[in-house]
Structure formats: structure tokens, C-alpha cells
Symmetry: C2
Subunit: 344 residues, 2 copies
Amino acid sequence: MENKLPTVKEIARRLNVSVSTVSRALSDHPRIGLRTKTRVQELAKELNYEPNAKAIFFKQRKSFIVGVILPFIREEFFSQAISGIEAAAMEHDYTILFGQSYDNPDREKQVVETMKKQRVDGLIISLSKETNKYDHLQALDKYDIPVVYFDRVPQLEQAHKVYCDLYKGTTEMVNWLFNRGYRRVAFINGPDKLSASKERLKGYLEGVSKQKLKIDMQMVETTDLSRESTHEAMKKLLALKHRPHAIVTFNDYVHMDAVQYAEQHNILINKDIAFVSYANLPITNYTAYPPLASIEQYPYGQGNKAMELMIRILNEKGMPTNGARTYHNEKVVPTLVMHQPVIR
Amino acid sequence: MENKLPTVKEIARRLNVSVSTVSRALSDHPRIGLRTKTRVQELAKELNYEPNAKAIFFKQRKSFIVGVILPFIREEFFSQAISGIEAAAMEHDYTILFGQSYDNPDREKQVVETMKKQRVDGLIISLSKETNKYDHLQALDKYDIPVVYFDRVPQLEQAHKVYCDLYKGTTEMVNWLFNRGYRRVAFINGPDKLSASKERLKGYLEGVSKQKLKIDMQMVETTDLSRESTHEAMKKLLALKHRPHAIVTFNDYVHMDAVQYAEQHNILINKDIAFVSYANLPITNYTAYPPLASIEQYPYGQGNKAMELMIRILNEKGMPTNGARTYHNEKVVPTLVMHQPVIR
DNA sequence: TTGTAGGCGTTATCAT
DNA sequence: ATGATAACGCCTACAA
């Protein structure tokens, strides 16, 4: 009893014309009889005909679908990013196939596989924090599926990337702290492997050096971004003979965990110790202890740029090239944002 | 210089066999020469052959793609929900086409249109708060694209729905407050049109009635969920001759805005006035003023159920029916969760 | 055991 | 102005 979807063939049958006539009539081909055209168009409307995009895309070898893989959509950073991606996609009639890696390289691989099977036109990805092999992703390039990395980008030259240059931003933040009189500035960094961590560390060291201060590596801790790990880092920092005056944390989530630990250990937040962070998530305005300042990384903008770049790449695909592929590398400039100081 | 994706045809050409042989060899057809089979499979592996899902889906009239439309992905409730959807989808080899309505019915329509064009196998949607016409969605049913609504569901009998029955939950919460001695319990509800609001209101009225108290409609305010609107509602409640002892808010976001307003007006949160809410988002644990209690609505579970239901519907599609369609209606039971009281 | 042919819905390229 | 046909990649009933 299923009401089959109408096809050109069906219309052709009913009108006793050929499928090509129907196809042409529907696409308003110039040299087609006005009478026939009207008849076809009327029947099409009556039957509620809609071209089957699947068939068209199949023929065109194009789906207008771009895969997007993120570590965690529940992090506001990434939900903002995907919104930026979606906006750019919509503007150019693309749609988003969605997947999360949950920071698990195996799962990431699996999702990439699915996207490949679905033959997405391209893939935008922010790497899982453990990913250090990119074979499965580079393989896509060979299949003519371009990959654009954003925010969590790989250490590869041969890749399209959009990310925030946190080197400068971090230096700036450290300077800002010194200028405000904080002399012992500690740093809870993310996983060593992440290029985002390396950038930050470089910036931090640069900032400290500029103050002509000796660098104290006891002031640098690492977290795997879990609450436990962050608490562990805090424990070490608070156990130091000379406690830090200020703590820079990897992002606002680490910040929240760090501050939670500090509060539980009777530290007066932003008084005994000042806290600054990255990301500047809107949600921090509602939290108990917003950071004194944080570095805005414009996730929406990054996502938007990544998708724009993807579209540019896809559009250039048919174009003649001089042989060598060029890879794009776009940096987004972060900004230091100061918050209303909240001391509790 | 493009490395074209390998096809059965290509493999067949290279091995001087027919495409059907290749196809069968790859699918491990029983009666195929072992020698040929191995040769084919080896070459396939060497070329990194993968069947083109587009072609298969085109043939099978199936894409294994389900569209998901949410109001705002940045709300933790929805990002949890989509995670539940994704998990169920993955288990059954489905993928998610993603779109946001931003609570805008026009945009919602547009996204639905895109999904239809893409010929998704089905659509899971949580309605925009202003949507009161469902034609564009019911139309999908005609195209044989099933629609499963979740959380924000329409007032339709003829629809598949998964949602949380907040009627009982709200009554329970109001009782809980009365039992704790709060006599004037106010309520900041969401938009009237939302069935979620109606459910809550019914539960609230029921709860108050049970206490044999006169219902005071001055205690009931409405917000369109924006911060301004919530602040407006708070203003009215605080201006009453007899201030409420407790305030129930539509969800944790409204809660945060309400509490923010109260704090700015020198109310001691959870002392002068107690606050309770819905949703129980993890992020509330980091906020300055978590609600005293909130009603967990299990967004992950709802999403998961919605997708499971979708898959059941899709699987039943080919099956013989007795004619009339049956619509599924699944309720998720909410739970009242108490929090560590924080008074500031 | 393997090959041939037709079909899925559409459009582009011929031919009429 | 219209029709016939091939092609996209895959599968499968049927033929050999």
C-alpha cells in the first residue's frame, strides 16, 4: 500500500513521452515545447515530484555532505565550533554528517571509516587527544576526500589546518599576570602530545623568560584533562614550598576542576591564588569562580573558517592544477579577555 | 594524477573476470572458485577497495542516514541527547545528518527540506519552541520518511514520540518542597505552547492542590527562555507583597538566569528563597548556585530511545502490515535528584 | 563455477 | 522539439 515516490520515468509513462523530455521540461530546458513543458510540470506538481538527490549525487559523484568529527560535542567549545561549521555549510548547500571520537583513537578511526563508506565529499576533524598516527586520515586524501583539521591539528606539513595560534596569546597572558604583580606563575598544561599543549608551553616559557626570571619547571604540571588528573596537578602545586601566585590552566574545564580542588583546600580563589584560563566559554559566567581572564579562541569562527576552506578546496577540485598540491594553513588570532573579578 | 577510487569494475578488468564474479567473491558467495576468490580478495585489499555506499544505498533505496534536528546543540541537554542518538545509531550502522533550528520555525523548515532532499531514511527532531504547525513534518510521512519526535514533541496523536513525563515529576517536586516547609512555591514556566510547559504546569497545579492550598496565579510566571524574559519574571515575583519561599524554574538555564537576577537583588540564594529546577545538567555542579534539587530528564536516554525506536520503525517498513499505521509513544520516567545545598 | 544483462533515477550526448 | 541510449557502481536472477 506504499505510495511510491514519483520518478521521471513514472511521469514519462503517464504522459506518453520520453524520460529525457521530462527531465528537460523539469529543468526548464530552452528548446522544449511549451505545451509539453506545461503538461510535465503540472503533473510533476500534482504528483509532488521531487528529484531523488541520491541518484543525482550518485551520478555526479558528489553528495554535498561533509563529515565532521569532534572529540566531545558536550564541550561548549566544540558545540560552538560545529555551529560555525553548520552556518558555512548551509550557505553553500552542504550538510553535516556528525560523529564523536570521545577522545578515543580507535573510535575515531571507526568513525572515519564510516564517513569514508558514506563517501562524504570532505572531512573536517578535530583530533582526539591521543591520536598520533594519521594514516587513516591521510589515506582519505588519496581517495580524493579532502581533510581539514581544526583546533586540534596534527604535526603534519601536508595538511589543511585551521587553528588558533596560542603561542603569542599565552605569552601575552603571562606578561599580563607579571604586570599585575604575580611573580610565581604556574601552568597546568594539557597532554604533551597535543600541538595545542606545545604551543601553550612555548608561549609560557617565552613569557617567563621575558621577565628575566629563571624558569622553574616545578611550576609546570600536566593533566590528561580528566578531573582526577587535574586535581593531582593541583595537589603538587599546592604542596610546593613556594606556592604559585597565579595558575594558568589549559582550558576552562581544567580551570573549573582546578578551582574546585583549590576551594576544597581552603584557598581563596583569585585572592590567595589568581586563576586564568583559555576558551572563554559563555558558561563560565555562571560558574562559581570565573577565571580572572581567559583567552578567547573563537571556536565558532574556527569552525566557520574550516568549512569555508573545505568548500574552497572542493570547488577547486575540478580545476586544473600545476601538479603539486597546496595545503592551506589558517591561523585565528586569539584575544585576551578580562572578566569581572570574583573573589569568594 | 587523481587516484580514482577502485570499483568492482576496475578489479574485474585487471583480473580479466566479470564484475559479478568480483562482486560475489567479495561477498563470500558459496559457489565461487577458491582460486578466483582469493585473487579477487587480495587485489581488493591491495587496492584498498571499499564498496561505494552511495551506489549500494541508491540501489537499495536506503542510505543508513538519519537526520537529527535540534534547537541548540550548545545546550548540554541536547548535546547529551545527540550522544544517545549517535550511540544507538552506531550500533546499527546508521549515521547522523545534523542540523539546528535555533528555535526558529523557518529555519527548522529549511533544515527539514534539506534532509528531505538528501533522502534521509528517517528524521529525529526536537521541535523549535515556536513551531505549532507540523505540515512540513507530516509531509515526510508521505515520502515514507518516518519522523520520531523527542522531548519537545507536537500535540499530535498520529506521531512517534519519546518524551519525559514531567507531570508526575513536577507534582513530586512540589510535594517535596511543601514537605520541607516551603509554603509559597512559585513557578517560572516556559512558553505556553510547548507541551513540556503544559505538562509542568499541570503537575505544578496538581501539586499545589494536593496541599489543599488555594492556587495563586501570581505565583506562576512565564519566560520565553531568554535571559531578559527570565529576569522580567523574577522581577515580578520579587515585587509581590508575599514573596515566594521557593521558585521552580523551567530548566537549569532558566535557573541560572533567575538566580543571577536574585543575587543581583541581594537575595540569599537557597536561604531567602530556595531554587529547584529541571534537567540536572552536569555543568550545574560547577555553577555558583546549583539548584537544591532538579528533575533529571535523561537526555541521553531519550535520544537513545528515539533512535532505537527509529530503527525499529525502519526495520518494520518492509514488513506486511494490517493496513493501519501504529504510532509509538514512549515515556521516560524523570527522577528527582537532590544536590548538596549551597548557600551563598 | 562463471558470465551476461537488467535495473535503480537521473542527466548528457547523440540522433531523429 | 523530442526520443533513444549510455553512464554512474553495485547487485542478482538467469543463462551457460
